[in-house]
């Protein structure tokens, strides 16, 4: 079909796509001139007589507009970021209006809009609730901290997330620092809304007993904080958590309620939809303007307004319109997971639901099923399936999980949630009638009981969730295969399907033969402590130290396990405890319980700590092999990966009182590349390595003992002579690691230093010839 007709059918789809391409372009290229040239070309094309060129003109104009929009947004964001970096760690005086108040695990956080401070927003931390409200002004002094970027691969990027919302840092007031509150006595819209939200919340909690109140608040206000953690977990594990995050689904339910209300007012046709539009606007405001709610509301609004213009709405065009509308005002939403999931879900529901209806045998077509209840359930199942088909790669890529039970759970939970939302609205408006409040509140309780019964039951099936590693490459393959499926079912386009399959096979073979012989090493950021993951070319995995565990933090559970999950690692072939100090093995306590371990490496030195004993006992009772490597041994880990153990010398280790000097030290060799792991070795240990001479030479050095002054002697560094060294160290740790003197030793030798406290985790990759850094954030 010719281009112009295709464009005319759904212009907003192509326009929004052009705009999105522009946004992406603007992210990579920051040339103003380029944008101006693009725009001029676009404008010129608009004045030609030919339709095809005219369409191109529109698209080019939108492309340049998108690029410009992204550039200006990024310039502003980078400016604010640099301001945040500049004030990082400094004591600042602040004065700002409260825009938001949130309760956290450790206290309260106030979102302040700082007028004097470049117009950025910050979170002000307070241990207790201040006697103040939204729009009041707070004045005080405290330490400014920028919002830190993700520390490790796969971690949620709070920096981007908050920066998109114009929040650039935290302020932590000193212990006895006084906060001055200036009350605002004028009307303030934000405060008015938050008061209404609070009223609705208390209304629900008063009338709906048990968990129902919290669930209703989550469903109608989009505030999950009142939902009990165990319920939330069961929703996560069954893959239905999306029903608790206000989304397009809820707008759908709200629309049904609004259409019912619309018919109750006897307004003339045309004016009647004001009720719907107003209702949607109120809902968007009450739920805090989330992308998914705005998306669905724009779509619903455009849908009900179409007849007023004597037109019918095209669903794809409306989706395009919603995307364009949101991205014009909030271009950074493009990188927001909620935005992406929302559009992916609605797109794949429409596409695949229709596809199922065409390719399924007649007996299984929803429109051909005569039994009403059966039709409803089957239809719901197909909608759920269609949504999952499209969103699965994204959710799996992000969360590393594939909840299989979600398909069935959604069919049961989604309609029940719809009923609950309906009851919620009636409770909201009719709850004040004495009998009504009781009846509605208790029916909400009953429904939420049924819902939680289902989610708890489903989440008990442990097999229901599969941990998978969905790389970006697999996401592409997934969509290609899906595309070929769609084509294969269509007789006329079958050949395209075959082409795609051939392409996919080619890419896979190519990828498999070229890419898969790499050695990955990730030095994790576990604060003050060590942890590194080594993945061999044959996918076997070695974990070298596991990070610290204390009363406040457990790096095994919070950092190492999530990263292993993210990488799709289900088994550790070797776990090396370089030495039994808790900043190296503390995290292992949580890890041994979650993941299969084949062999454990330990030093010779006798040690007695609860942590160490727990691990050894676990290993003994679970058949984990314990190895005690000694200097001089060579271990062959895989075809061409060797490991030379350089320390400890068994005799030295037993007599040495300093546990650090008993550290297992080894050089990992892959082809021509090598990495030296040194544990917490100090200079007494360094000296024993000197006889190895040229053997010490390595490309990468894991600096001993977090860069302490007691390690990394000149003689040792001269022999190792690395190009890159990694210091695994916590920000502002009490030991004051790393030592400036040690840093100077590296600087004078022109060795690059990567500090985990400053730059987060380091991911390097070796192909046997060269080592290069892998960008993960």
């Amino acid at each position: 079909m010719d281009l112009v007709n295709l464009f005319k059918k759904t212009p907003l789809v192509y326009i929004s796509l052009a705009f999105i391409f522009g946004l992406i372009l603007g992210e990579f290229f920051s040339s103003d001139l380029g944008v101006i040239i693009l725009f001029t070309i676009g404008l010129c094309l608009l004045f030609t007589k030919k339709d095809t060129i005219f369409v191109f003109g529109i698209l080019v104009c939108l492309l340049s507009f998108g690029a410009h929009r992204m550039q200006t947004t990024l310039i502003l964001q980078n400016h604010y970021k640099s301001v945040a970096n500049e004030f990082h760690d400094n004591i600042v005086a602040y004065q700002g209006d409260i825009a938001e108040i949130k309760q956290t695990k450790k206290g309260f956080k106030y979102r302040l809009h700082l007028f004097d401070f470049q117009n950025i927003d910050i979170w002000l931390y307070q241990k207790t609730r201040l006697n103040c409200d939204i729009s009041d002004t707070l004045i005080g002094q405290g330490e400014f901290q920028r919002i830190s970027p993700a520390r490790n691969p796969g971690e949620f990027d709070f920096q981007s997330f908050y920066n998109r919302r114009n929040i650039y840092g935290w302020i932590f007031p000193d212990k006895n620092e006084h906060v001055t509150i200036l009350k605002n006595n004028h009307f303030h819209f934000g405060r008015f809304i938050s008061e209404i939200q609070e009223k609705i919340r208390t209304h629900f909690n008063e009338h709906a007993p048990g968990d129902a109140g919290g669930l209703l608040s989550a469903l109608i206000l989009g505030d999950k904080s009142d939902v009990a953690p165990d319920i939330r977990d069961s929703f996560v594990n069954t893959g239905v958590i999306h029903v608790l995050a206000v989304s397009g689904l809820h707008v759908g339910y709200v629309l049904i309620v609004l259409l019912l209300i619309k018919n109750m007012f006897r307004l003339p046709w045309g004016l009647d939809r004001i009720v719907v539009i107003l209702g949607l606007i109120i809902f968007v405001i009450l739920t805090g303007g989330k992308a998914s709610v705005i998306r669905a509301s724009i779509m619903a609004g455009l849908y009900v307004m179409a007849p007023v213009f004597n037109r019918s709405a095209n669903i794809w065009n409306i989706i395009g319109g919603a995307a364009l509308g949101i991205l014009c005002f909030r271009p950074m939403d493009l990188f927001d997971l909620g935005f992406q999931l929302s559009f992916l879900a609605v797109g794949s529901i429409i596409f695949f639901y229709n596809w199922f209806e065409t390719v399924l045998p007649d007996k299984l077509k929803v429109s051909k099923i005569s039994h009403k209840a059966l039709q409803f359930i089957w239809g719901l199942f197909l909608v759920s399936l269609a949504a999952q088909v499209g969103t699965l790669p994204l959710t799996s890529y992000v969360f590393g999980k594939l909840p299989l039970i979600a398909l069935i759970a959604n069919v049961l939970i989604v309609p029940l949630i719809g009923v609950l939302v309906g009851i919620g609205f009636f409770l909201l408006f009719l709850g004040w009638i004495p009998g009504m409040g009781f009846v509605l509140g208790n029916s909400a309780w009953l429904i939420s009981k049924i819902i939680t019964f289902f989610t708890h039951t489903f989440s008990m099936f442990s097999f229901s969730t599969i941990n998978i590693n969905f790389s970006l490459f697999l996401v592409v393959i997934y969509f290609l295969v899906l595309g070929s499926m769609v084509f294969l079912f269509d007789k006329r386009k079958r050949k395209y399907g075959l082409y795609i399959i051939i392409i996919v096979l080619n890419i896979s073979v190519w990828k498999w033969s070229f890419n898969d012989r790499k050695l990955d090493v990730i030095f994790l950021d576990v604060g003050q402590g060590d942890a590194a993951i080594v993945r061999l070319p044959n996918k076997k995995v070695m974990l070298i130290d596991t990070g610290p565990r204390s009363r406040y933090e457990d790096m095994g559970k919070d950092v190492v396990l999530p990263l292993l999950n993210h990488l799709g690692i289900n088994k550790l072939d070797w776990v090396v405890m370089t030495h039994p100090h808790s900043d190296h093995i503390g995290g292992l306590v949580s890890i041994v319980n979650e993941i299969e371990i084949d062999t454990l490496w330990d030093t010779f030195i006798p040690y007695t700590s609860r942590t160490y004993q727990t691990i050894i006992d676990f290993a003994d009772s679970n058949g984990i092999i314990i190895n005690r490597p000694r200097s001089g041994e060579t271990k062959r880990l895989s075809e061409n990966v060797y490991l030379l153990v350089l320390a400890p010398d068994s005799l030295f280790a037993v007599t040495e009182r300093n546990v650090n000097n008993a550290s297992i030290v080894f050089k990992l060799v892959y082809g021509e590349t090598s990495i030296l792991f040194t544990g917490d070795l100090e200079h007494e240990g360094d000296e024993l390595l000197i006889p190895y001479q040229q053997l010490l030479k390595s490309d990468v050095l894991k600096v001993a003992h977090h860069g302490s002054i007691t390690s990394s002697t000149d003689a040792f560094l001269d022999l190792v002579n690395p190009a890159l060294s990694v210091i695994s160290v916590g920000w502002k740790n009490k030991f004051r690691h790393p030592s400036p003197i040690v840093l100077e030793r590296f600087r004078s030798r022109e060795i690059d230093v990567h500090r985990t406290d400053l730059n987060g985790a380091l991911w390097i990759q070796s192909d046997g010839k060269n080592i290069k850094e892998v960008k993960w954030n």
């Binding site: 007709n5 005319k8 059918k9 759904t10 212009p11 907003l12 326009i15 018919n263 006897r266 046709w269 045309g270 009647d272 455009l302 179409a306 007849p307 007023v308 213009f309 004597n310 037109r311 019918s312 709405a313 095209n314 065009n317 319109g321």
Partner: protein, 226 residues
């Protein structure tokens, strides 16, 4: 003015692409819902008074209709009734008013529509016959009054009934709310099948003193098939 209209339709077509409701092809930057090739494809009836062919015609002086209920026009009626497309009624009214002119009737003082029952009206949100009537009134410059007739009872579906039952079903279904003494009234509806509904309207209008009652509908099932 022309320019503003062009720009308006150009912008409107970005949000709501103007697709023909019958064949789904792009119509153009204008206010038409049906493309010209679909209009040509519709089966236009010869312009003739078909009151004699109605199985129920008591009280009706003349009855006209414009398109046969086939060749896609059945889709148009369905759209008009069930897709919230009230304005389509007005558009079709314009077209109808060009096909059939006031001169085709003896005289018309006032236009009205067959009313919908309250419940049905609330479900649908509009009365499609009323919007057709508004279109006619606009183009003919004859006053339209939707309040002349009122529906009193919810009549059960006509399709399962025979002729006598239909008449019984219709008796007293309507009442006249305005003064129609010595006036000629045109009653508008979307489809004319047996005539029992319009005839019931005509009878109450005549009883209230109306001089003449004429009937005009968009469509009627082709006579050969009836």
């Amino acid at each position: 003015m022309r320019l503003i209209k062009d720009i308006y339709y150009l912008l409107l077509d970005f949000i709501y692409p103007n697709k023909c409701i019958v064949c789904k092809r792009f119509v153009g930057h204008n206010d038409r819902s049906i493309c010209s090739s679909c209009w040509e494809n519709f089966d236009e009836m010869p312009k003739q008074n078909m009151v004699k062919e109605l199985s129920v015609n008591d009280g009706i002086d003349s009855a006209f209709s414009s398109w046969n209920f086939k060749n896609g026009f059945d889709d148009v009626i369905h759209y008009l009734k069930y897709n919230d497309m009230a304005k389509l009624g007005k558009e079709l009214g314009y077209r109808l008013g060009k096909n059939i002119t006031p001169g085709d009737f003896q005289s018309i003082d006032s236009i009205t529509a067959v009313p919908l029952h309250r419940v049905k009206y609330r479900d649908r949100g509009y009365n499609q016959a009323e919007w057709i009537g508004k279109g006619l009134a606009d183009i003919w410059q004859i006053p339209f009054d939707k309040k002349i007739l009122k529906r009193n009872r919810f009549t059960i579906s006509q399709t399962t009934l025979n002729k006598e039952e239909r008449q019984a079903n219709m008796a007293n279904a309507f009442s006249v709310e305005k003064d129609v003494k010595d006036k000629s009234i045109l009653v508008v509806d979307d489809v004319l099948t047996t005539g029992s509904t319009t005839s019931a309207c005509a009878i109450v209008l005549k009883n209230a003193g109306a001089k003449q009652v004429h009937v005009l509908t968009l469509s009627a099932p082709s006579i050969s098939e009836n």
